[in-house]
């Protein structure tokens, strides 16, 4: 595969399809969009199959000095690969999810989603700081249209809030990027990753990046755009927003802030931990009292993302790997949960939890899927949520037991609000006539649910498939952070494993204790 510009091709396919959709009729546009997203997914699978785990850090690199001051430089490492896979996996499902729900201006809608896909995978592929920024910011435009045109009743307000909030954060990052380019004299991300910025400069750069990425994450207290955007966006818009766009913030933390500004990251660790702890508890409690299903899931996203930030700033292998798995898991599970809401919203046109009840009776298949995703969101062992939460909490515990304690309450609260939601929607008496009339999943909905469920289980049962490509990159980041890493309060010491008495000679315990240090 070497030499073939597969990354550019992956960007070109949805772009060309988007232009075609603009001029196509409604029905044709749907098929073009589905075809293009599936083709991109296939390309993504080829990418994954050809990715050399343990090989060079940056693979499939392309470079063309097209723009004078910066270049068309693409390349991926394991983290980027997994996030690209997440994006291309969710896209066809988003198109399917909006197959019947969107009836107006279908061509424009499909074009916006395809543009969104280009932009998202472009963000993960960019190896040039300015190219990254362009992709990062460009995502605002299609999302503004998706929320504003096809959203709910209060869509205009939500679209404005989303646009301006995220723009305000991003522009400060641009100034920081200019300062970095001026200091290091290059826009090349791999070079910048190993450039040592002066510590006092790092603090400012870190804060500017934080202003942008914390909004994208979103972290408490700048999360308020998210519930509005989610509630108003159409189902597929919420899926992509929760599934991929929220990961951009964490990706930025891991790609830029931590390896490029290690001193500042260590110095301002308390800020991230503090905000994460507040977010976990506060947004979980807020989620508990929501009467709107989408808002509840939106707040739960903020809580999950807070565990991600805490896990990342644990500065150790488990914490960061766990955070990455939560990102992937949350991408799949929250998209699935938003789709679950979308399914019943399409039938009853309300998101009020109280309007439902007893769906287990007339929609058994739906109830089963919803149950699976609820459990995955809570973090039941065997589902994707467990792996990520366990690993990241393990990492956090090593850094700070207090933070780990507070974050764990989030898991308990998470179980509370998700099960409470599930009970009110799916269990109980089937009394309402209009709810009784709701049919179970149709084949199209099955086609969306089944792959999501399969991946959620795969990630829970055999996470190594997803961890293996990322392990090397996490090790690199951890090594970069090692000199400045503060000592954790866990003071873990390698124990002296002794064979259990009963087992006598079969001593093989030495390998078990080396995991944490």
């Amino acid at each position: 595969m070497s030499g073939f510009p597969i990354l550019s091709l992956m960007l070109a396919v949805p772009t060309i399809a988007a232009i075609a959709c603009l001029f196509a009729g409604d029905r044709t546009a749907r098929f073009i969009a589905l075809g293009a997203t599936l083709a991109t997914f296939v390309l993504g699978c080829i990418l994954w199959a050809n990715f050399d785990i343990g090989g060079a850090q940056w693979q499939f690199t392309e470079r063309a000095d097209l723009f004078g001051r910066f270049s068309w430089a693409l390349g991926i490492d394991g983290m980027a690969l997994m996030l690209i896979m997440l994006s291309v996996f969710l896209m066809p499902l988003c198109i399917l999810a909006s197959w019947d729900a969107i009836k107006e201006r279908v061509g424009l809608y499909m074009a916006m989603f395809l543009v969104m896909e280009t932009i998202m995978i472009g963000v993960f592929m960019a190896q040039d700081l300015l190219l990254f920024y362009i992709f990062f910011e460009a995502g605002l435009i299609p999302m503004y249209f998706i929320i504003g045109i096809w959203g709910g009743a209060n869509r205009k307000y939500a679209a404005f809030k989303f646009f301006l909030y995220t723009l305000l954060g991003s522009v400060l990052m641009l100034i920081a990027m200019i300062a970095m380019i001026m200091e290091a004299g290059t826009t090349d991300i791999p070079t910048l990753l190993n450039y040592d910025f002066p510590p006092e400069m790092q603090t400012w750069l870190w804060l500017a990046f934080f202003a942008s990425l914390a909004v994208k994450m979103p972290m408490w207290p700048v999360h308020t755009w998210l519930p509005d955007a989610h509630v108003q966006a159409p189902t597929a818009g919420s899926m992509i927003l929760a599934g991929v766009l929220l990961k951009l913030g964490a990706y930025g933390f891991l790609r830029f802030m931590m390896p490029m500004f290690p001193d500042a990251s260590a110095q301002l660790m308390w800020l991230v931990f503090g905000l994460s702890m507040v977010a976990v508890v506060y947004t979980s409690l807020v989620a508990l009292v929501q009467s709107d299903m989408k808002k509840l899931i939106a707040y739960s996203s903020v809580a999950h993302m807070a565990i991600v930030t805490a896990g990342l700033f644990a500065f150790n292998q488990q914490g960061i790997e766990g955070a990455l798995i939560i990102m992937l898991s949350h991408g799949v599970v929250s998209a699935a949960l938003f789709f679950c809401v979308g399914v019943i919203y399409d039938r009853l046109h309300t998101r009020e939890i109280d309007r439902y009840g007893g769906l287990a009776v007339n929609m058994p298949a739906y109830a089963l899927f919803f149950m699976l995703f609820t459990m995955a969101s809570i973090g039941l062992p065997g589902t994707s949520g467990f792996v990520g939460e366990f690993l990241s909490l393990l990492g956090i515990y090593e850094a700070s037991s207090v933070v780990a304690f507070v974050c764990t309450t989030g898991i308990i609260l998470g179980a509370a609000y998700m099960l409470y939601l599930y009970r009110r929607v799916v269990f109980g008496e089937l009394t309402k006539d209009d709810v009784k009339a709701m049919p179970d999943l149709n084949p199209r909905e099955w086609a969306v649910m089944a792959p999501l469920a399969a991946v959620a289980l795969w990630m829970g049962v055999y996470p190594e498939s997803f961890l293996a490509p990322m392990r090397g990159d996490v090790t690199t980041v951890v090594a970069r952070l090692a000199p400045t890493k503060p000592a954790g309060d866990a003071r873990l010491a390698i124990g002296k494993p002794a064979p259990a008495k009963a087992q006598g000679e079969t001593a093989h315990g030495a390998g078990h204790a080396g995991g944490v240090q």
Partner: protein, 477 residues
């Protein structure tokens, strides 16, 4: 002397061509509009060819009063191109009321602007400025039976005269305290010693020039004049004179006041931030698209001034790139406005009437969205690039607080741009019918081409632009 004449071919061509067109108009009457248009376009094309032919020449002619250099050449080409557009779109707008004077006035204005962009002496500066201004006053009130147009002309004239007065006062102070009107001499005197008289001179000259680029707090005339003037004339005001005045201001600040950085830099920084903020805040709540674009031009001038405040070659390069992108965007946006007429054939200028435009006329709505996002500087549209260059220049000149303030204020600006997009895309269709009208091939072609260029395609031109603007900017340093 004769040798000098060979170096000012663009100006000579414009003068002769303008006079010929004027004579034709006088003798043939207003019926032969096409002929005058053709003659004016040929004149501009010939002048542009002369500018291109003179590329690479660097000279100072007529006892150092006028420069022939790449900087002036860049500005002139941009000015001529904008003038061509404004002549091309006029007949369809004016219809039967088109008069021979229109292309003639544009030609003379272009001549004046060319002189502004190349002046190296306070006297040539003033002559060029007035030549442009007098033509512009008449153009603003070109629809003389229309109250708003007459009002615009009068307002422009009175305030313009006031600005000229301030400029002249500043010039007299500079002359009095340095003993010369040549930029070189003034720079030498400022480098030697900076006294209170010179500082007053700087303030007044910058105030006078601030009027011409409509920088806050000298911007009051802009919304009224933009609203009142006929659309082709507004298009003209928003494009070519901005280039000329900005080029002039850059030359005066860098060439003549260069050594007195401390004196002018704070003024320019103030003008920049005030323009960005007032331009952004003032636009919120505007109901007329022309007024809104006026505020947008004030806002954009503020960003250009950030490049000027940097006072470096990179800053000047950024200004030139910014001017090019800005002119393309503005002309495109005004052309879209020009193409929107209701069923009775009246121009639509009210923003609420644009509600739901994307469903009635998807093409113009999409183009307008591109122009507005580009003016807001949102990547991946090309309007992002000049803003990036400007901020980069500011950061490299250690003006980080200015860059931060400017970029944060740009978010306020984004608000009203996306508000119009909201009106066009999210709102329900308005009462006003906006039927598609054919036949305007030139307009549609220019709208399409500029929208495409401002979408991602423009980035491919960065290497060329960088070389051209670097050559032009290098002249001043």
């Amino acid at each position: 002397m004769t040798a000098d004449l060979a170096l000012i071919w663009p100006e000579l061509i414009l003068t002769i061509g303008g006079l010929i067109t004027l004579m034709l108009g006088t003798f043939l009457g207003d019926r032969q509009v096409g002929l005058y248009q053709l003659s004016a376009l040929l004149t501009l094309a010939a002048a542009a060819a002369a500018v291109v032919a003179l590329f690479g020449v660097e000279a100072s002619v007529f006892s150092d009063t006028l420069a022939v250099d790449a900087f002036g050449g860049f500005a002139k080409l941009l000015i001529y191109a904008a003038s061509v557009m404004c002549i091309l779109i006029a007949p369809r707008f004016f219809g039967g009321t088109m008069r021979a004077e229109y292309p003639v006035l544009i030609l003379f204005a272009a001549l004046g602007m060319g002189v502004m962009a190349s002046s190296r002496d306070l006297m040539t500066l003033y002559v060029g400025l007035e030549l442009n201004s007098l033509a512009a006053y008449v153009l603003a009130s070109f629809m003389r039976h229309d109250d708003r147009s007459s009002e615009a002309g009068l307002k422009y004239f009175v305030l313009g005269a006031l600005a000229s007065g301030m400029l002249l006062y500043g010039i007299s102070l500079l002359y009095g305290f340095t003993g010369t009107t040549a930029f070189d001499g003034i720079a030498a005197a400022m480098g030697a010693e900076l006294n209170i008289g010179l500082i007053f001179g700087i303030v007044f000259v910058l105030a006078g020039l601030g009027f011409k680029i409509s920088a806050v707090p000298f911007h009051m005339w802009t919304p009224d004049v933009y609203e009142g003037a006929p659309i082709p004339v507004t298009t003209f005001f928003a494009s070519a004179p901005k280039v000329a005045a900005m080029a002039l201001m850059t030359r005066v600040v860098i060439d003549a006041m260069g050594p007195a950085v401390g004196a002018w830099q704070q003024i320019v920084i103030f003008l920049a931030l005030a323009s960005i903020i007032v331009g952004a805040v003032g636009a919120i709540g505007q109901k007329n698209i022309k007024r809104l674009l006026a505020y947008s031009s004030i806002n954009n001038v503020g960003f250009m001034l950030i490049g000027l405040a940097a006072g470096t070659q990179a800053g000047v390069e950024a200004i030139l790139t910014y001017l090019l992108v800005y002119v393309v965007t503005t002309i495109g946006a005004f052309l879209v406005v020009l193409r929107l007429r209701d069923a009775a054939g009246n121009q639509i200028e009210s923003i609420p009437a644009l509600a739901g435009l994307s469903q009635r006329r998807p093409g113009p709505a999409a183009a307008m969205a591109v122009f507005l996002f580009s003016l807001a500087g949102i990547p991946p549209l090309f309007g992002f690039w000049p803003k990036y260059l400007v901020f980069e220049a500011a950061v490299n000149a250690n003006l980080v607080p200015l860059a931060v303030a400017g970029i944060v204020a740009s978010v306020i600006g984004a608000f009203y741009y996306i508000a119009i997009i909201k009106t066009m895309y999210f709102d329900d269709k308005s009462e006003t019918e906006i039927p598609a009208t054919g036949g305007a091939i030139v307009e549609d072609a220019v709208i399409t081409a500029s929208a495409l260029w401002l979408s991602v395609i423009g980035y491919l031109f960065i290497p060329v632009l960088a070389v051209v603007s670097a050559n032009a900017a290098a002249v001043l340093f």
